[in-house]
Subunit: 148 residues, 4 copies
C-alpha cells in the first residue's frame, strides 16, 4: 500500500507547519510537531505530559485520534494545489493497546487521492527511546475545500 505521490504545490511542507501552528489545540495544548512531511505522507509527534494521561498513567485515547486525524489530513493536504485545505468527512479508529511512552507518533498516509475525496490511514504509536509500540489505527475520508 506504500505509494509514491507528487505534490502540485511546492510550498506543501511549509503549509502543513503553518497550519499546525494556527491550531491552538494541536500547537498549545498538545505541543504537536510535524516531524516528517513528504507528498502523501506526514508524521506528527506529541510529547506525553500530565494533562493527557488517564488515571492509570496511560495516554488518553482521544490523543491518538487527534494526532492521527491531523497526520492523515495533512498527508492529504500535501497533494492539494495552493489555496486548498482539507476537512475531515469521517474517520474510524481502532485501539490496539494502552498508549504508554514518552511520545505519541502518528504516521499518516494517503491510500487513494481523489480530486475531492481522499482516503487516508494513520498508524499511531507510543514511543519510548527508539522503541515503538502500536497504539491505534485510523482510516479516514478527507474532503478538499478552497481556503477562504
Amino acid at each position: 500500500m506504500s505509494k509514491s505521490f507528487t505534490s502540485k504545490f511546492n510550498g506543501y511542507a511549509e503549509r502543513v507547519r503553518r497550519s499546525l501552528r494556527d491550531q491552538p489545540f494541536m500547537d498549545k495544548m498538545l505541543r504537536a510537531e510535524a516531524t516528517r512531511i513528504e507528498p502523501g505522507f506526514v508524521e506528527i509527534s506529541v510529547p506525553v505530559h500530565q494533562d493527557i494521561l488517564q488515571p492509570h498513567g496511560n495516554v488518553h485515547g482521544i490523543i491518538a485520534s487527534a494526532v492521527a486525524d491531523s497526520a492523515a489530513g495533512y498527508a492529504a493536504q500535501t497533494l492539494l494545489p495552493e489555496g486548498y485545505d482539507v476537512v475531515t468527512v469521517e474517520y474510524k479508529i481502532n485501539y490496539m493497546a494502552p498508549g504508554i511512552g514518552e511520545r505519541i507518533i502518528a504516521v499518516g498516509q494517503v491510500i487513494r487521492a481523489g480530486r475531492t475525496l481522499s482516503i487516508c490511514s494513520a498508524d499511531i504509536y507510543a514511543e519510548s527511546g527508539s522503541e515503538r509500540t502500536a497504539f491505534a489505527h485510523l482510516v479516514t475520508t478527507m474532503m478538499a475545500v478552497e481556503d477562504k
Copy 2:
C-alpha cells in the same frame, strides 16, 4: 432506538462524575461536565473557549470526538456492575457541520448492551442559548473491564 435500561449498580451516576473528574484531559483541558446521567444514557457538555477553536472560529473537530467518546462510554458504564469500567475498542465519527456555538453537547446512548461488548452512539451538537445544531455523529464498541 430509544430503550429503557436498568442499572446493576446504584452508584452509577456518582461513578460517572468521579471518573470524569479523574481525567485531566476532560476535566481540566476541556472542563467537561456530565449534565444528565441515566441508565444507558449520558449527556456531557463542554464550554467553548479559545484553545479549542480552529483558525476560522469553529470548534476543532477532535473535541466532538472527545466529548462523544466520553458520553457513549459512560452510557455503557452506567449499565455495568460495581467494580467495572469500559474501554473504547473502536469508534467511527461523521462530521455534519462546523461546530459553532457556546457549548458542545454530546448525547450518548447504549444501542445494545452485551456482557462484554456494548454498542453505543452519540449525537454531538453545538449549542447557543437553547438552539442546537448537529455537529457530528459517533458509533462505538465499548468493552467492559474489571477496575484495578
Copy 3:
C-alpha cells in the same frame, strides 16, 4: 434524530423501485423488496432462504450489510433531484446478534442531507411473524452523482 424531509422529485418512490429491480444481486439473488419509501426513509425486506444462511443456521452477516447499504442509500436518493443517484463513499456496520428469522429488514434513514454528501443510518432486524430482533446497525456516507 427522526426528521421530516421533503423530496425534490415526485417520482422518488418509483425511482427506488426501478433501481432495485435493475440490480441482479439485490433483485435476483436476494429477492429484496422496498416495503416503505418516504422522503429520507426507505425500508427494505429480504426473505431468508437457504443460500444466505451460515452453517449454524443464522443469516450470513454480509446480507445485513447488503440490505442496510441499499436502504440507507435509497433513503438518501429519495431527496435528490431527477437525474441523480447515489454512490456509497463508505459505511461502517456493527453486528449485534445472530440474524435468525424469516425476513431481514433494514430501515434506512437520512441523518443529514447535504448537497453532495449525505450521512445516513440503517437499523437491521431479523423478523419472525411480527417480532423483530436487532441484527446490526450501519452508518454511511453517500455521495450524489449525476445519472449517466
Copy 4:
C-alpha cells in the same frame, strides 16, 4: 504494517478452505476461493459474473465487503487454536473506484492479534489479466469464539 505471525494450529489452511465451502453464500453464490493462506494472511478471489454486476457494468460494492470481510476474518482465524472460529464484531469499508475486472481479489491481514479481539484489514482489488486496480479498503474487529 506487514508482520510475521505463527499459527497455533497446524490445520489452519484446511480449516479456512473447509469453512469457505460450508458457506453457501460465499461458495455457491459468489464461487469464492482462498488463493493464499498463511498465518495472519488470507487472499480470496471471486470471479466476476452477471449476477454481481450493477446496471452500469461494474461489480456491486457489497461484493467487495463480502470478500474482504471473509479474507480479514480468515486471516484472524489462521492464528486461533483448534476448535475456535471468528465472528465479525464490526467493519468499516471505504470505496475507492468502480470495481471493473475479471476477478475481485481481497487480501486480508491481521494488524493486531489479541486473545479475544483481533484487528484486521483487507485491500480489495479488481483484477484483469495480471493488472490490479484498487476497489476498496476495509478495517475490522474480529472476535474469537469457541466452535460449537
